[in-house]
């Protein structure tokens, strides 16, 4: 029922397998993490021959349901040394569904001097074609060249020059509905994994239209309409439509958890210059190609994305997310939205994670390479990443490595992955989540902040983090957008009913959550087998020893508590 296409990146040989399991039906992270656990030796070199790269669509991919086309990409991470699932919007999962593919696997790795190849998947054949014309080019230019060669409607995943140099913070850029590779699976260095296989792009052609064979089409239509109503009527989801994730700037500033000055502080003077309202007003005022709302994938009614224009109205960057505004803004004491947008654009072009690179620049500023608040210097450092200068290669390899090389002890990461945009001493729930995800510090993994009655206490946070690790993982587990979770947080049946109408397969809420917990258990087992120990699930010492000035809080979470939060 569900097809898995395996491609040997050395020989070009392909095999197609079918899998009728419920895990394959769910797809998304349920499938990608199981396949990594099963097929990748945990102790292998992440950039070696034994690592594999898995692209998994979700349960409802190819249908008309809203927000269902997230693509889960899995592998062993070169950044964390553990398992990684990073997901992106865009059209690639839809194109995979049109080719009747649930999963694409890139296997093996050729000699590092082999010419770059593009994997091209069509209805009649899969082949490796010459990709050397893309070498060294930025993602925007690569995107144009891929569109020129394969058409605007092809679903592509490509890498930037940073991944070509195997920088550890490099991501994978996937096609958006306009054919631009701007939707990032940014975290964990998965771009470097694809580069290690000498694959510079993967293209799924728009030459097939396998239509979903609905078990009950009328029920599906009814269920899809119900989901739209739930999303549109949910007051939280509707806020995303107007402001996107940028709305978090004000909330985090008010709660004193806005990363500021290399995560030394939790609030920044002038935060209102880079908040959601400032961005909304700027986009509206400049007009042109600017958009305050934009769908990253076909048929999504939340439309939390945006297009940030230059002063003349032409596109500067799309999208700008809260995490980027914080890590490349407040964390560097920048109050200039245009500078943040420019840094974001360069990151997208270089093909690197904005969080890890923003955090790395924060560390570099603390090391004295530039003054906090110096926007020109911050933009210059991003250009160094794109140009792969010696400093750029260090910054583009993430915050942990940068801090070690520059001799900075306050290094904001867990398992080598930069902290997302919530200063952990002021929110012990988010701190607990950072310390207990198998992916390295990851806010989407268990977003507690909105439900913490007292963010500064650790009491009850093991249970709270675990509760939201399940809630947060549900959407990843079946390829849904994380923001749909608000509408089904207390009742997953609207989505499970869609699965029933699509496949005539019943999955109960309890069974679904069992899949989620089993995924978490497998992911942690992979990390244990990879040699990651309890001592790795910690912040650097300064978070435990130095109080954050605004809240007076230190990290007081013990190894025992984080071990409980990792126990499934």
């Amino acid at each position: 029922m569900f097809s898995i296409l395996k491609i040997n990146t050395v020989t070009g040989e392909t095999t197609k397998e079918t899998d009728n399991s419920k895990e394959a039906l769910l797809g998304g992270r349920t499938l990608s993490s199981r396949m990594v656990s099963k097929e990748v030796p945990a102790q292998c070199d992440p950039l070696g021959r034994q690592n594999k790269l898995f692209f998994c669509s979700g349960a409802l991919a190819g249908t008309t349901a809203s927000s269902c086309h997230r693509l889960s990409i899995g592998a062993k991470s070169p950044l964390t040394g553990g398992i990684k699932e990073s997901n992106a919007g865009g059209i690639l999962a839809l194109r995979m569904a049109h080719q009747n593919l649930r999963c694409i696997v890139l296997e093996d790795a050729p000699e590092p001097d082999r010419d770059w190849k593009i994997v091209v998947i069509g209805k009649d054949k899969t082949e490796l074609v010459d990709g050397s014309f893309l070498e060294g080019k930025g993602v925007y230019e690569k995107s144009d060249l891929l569109t020129e060669k394969f058409g605007k409607r092809a679903g592509c995943a490509t890498i930037g020059p940073a991944a070509e140099k195997r920088l550890l913070a490099s991501g994978l850029a996937c096609s958006d509905p306009h054919g631009v590779c701007s939707r990032y699976a940014g975290r964990g260095g998965l771009g470097a994994v694809m580069a290690s296989k000498r694959i510079i792009a993967m293209v799924v052609l728009d030459d097939a239209k396998v239509k979903p064979d609905y078990a009950d089409k009328d029920e599906f239509k009814k269920g899809a309409r119900k989901l739209i109503t739930l999303l549109q009527e949910n007051p939280v989801a509707s806020k995303f439509t107007k402001y996107g994730t940028a709305a978090m700037v004000d909330i985090c500033q008010a709660l004193k958890v806005l990363p500021t000055r290399n995560f030394k502080h939790g609030a920044m003077d002038g935060a209102e210059k880079i908040n959601a309202q400032a961005m909304y007003d700027t986009i509206k005022e400049r007009g042109g190609e600017g958009r305050t709302q934009h769908a990253c994938m076909p048929g999504c009614v939340i439309q939390c994305s945006n297009v940030y224009p230059k002063k003349d109205g032409t596109i500067l960057c799309s999208p700008i997310e809260y995490e980027t505004m914080a890590l490349m803004g407040s964390n560097l004491c920048l109050t200039d939205l245009d500078a943040i947008a420019m840094m974001n654009r360069i990151a997208n072009d270089a093909g690197v994670d904005t969080l890890d690179c923003g955090a790395a620049i924060g560390v570099a500023m603390e090391a004295g390479l530039a003054e906090f608040g110096d926007a020109k210097a911050a933009v210059r450092m991003m250009e160094e990443i794109r140009e792969a200068t010696p400093l750029g290669r260090i910054l583009g390899s993430g915050v942990k490595l940068t801090a070690k090389i520059l001799g900075v002890s306050h290094s904001p990461h867990v398992l080598g992955q930069a902290l997302p945009a919530y200063e952990p001493r002021g929110t012990k729930g988010m701190a607990m989540t950072y310390l207990s995800t198998p992916m390295g510090a990851d806010h989407t993994f268990g977003f507690t902040l909105r439900d913490e009655e007292d963010p500064t206490t650790k009491e009850g946070k093991v249970a709270l983090s675990k509760k939201f690790q399940v809630i947060g993982s549900r959407m990843d587990a079946m390829g849904m957008c994380n923001f749909a979770r608000y509408s089904v947080k207390d009742d997953m049946n609207p989505l499970l009913d869609l699965i029933k109408a699509r496949f005539d397969v019943v999955i109960t809420e309890e069974e679904f959550d069992d899949f989620v917990r089993e995924t978490l258990r497998l992911e942690h087992q992979f990390n244990t087998d990879a040699g990651i120990t309890a001592a790795d699930y910690r912040f650097c010492e300064s978070f435990y020893q130095e109080a954050q000035p605004e809240t007076g809080e230190k990290i007081d979470i013990t190894d025992q508590e984080t071990a409980e939060a990792r126990s499934w």
């Binding site: 806020k239 994730t245 978090m248 909330i251 004193k256 309202q277 809260y322 945009a421 909105r450 009655e453």
Partner: protein, 72 residues
Amino acid sequence: MVTLYFKLSDRAAIQIPVRQPETLGDLLERVSQETGTELGSYIAVRQGKVMARHQIVEDQDSIEIFPAISGG
């Protein structure tokens, strides 16, 4: 009087007399009923600290009400 600032919202700030003792949850329920609008999930902040639903509102309080969303 308590002043409520609805952040990231088209609602104007409102001032409302407090019925002592009154919890934040009760006060916001009253506001919701009087204005005929649903507040949905929210994060309330008083003097830089999160305010829980069960906490007592004091006269002259200024409280910021944010929609309870998350990052992406």
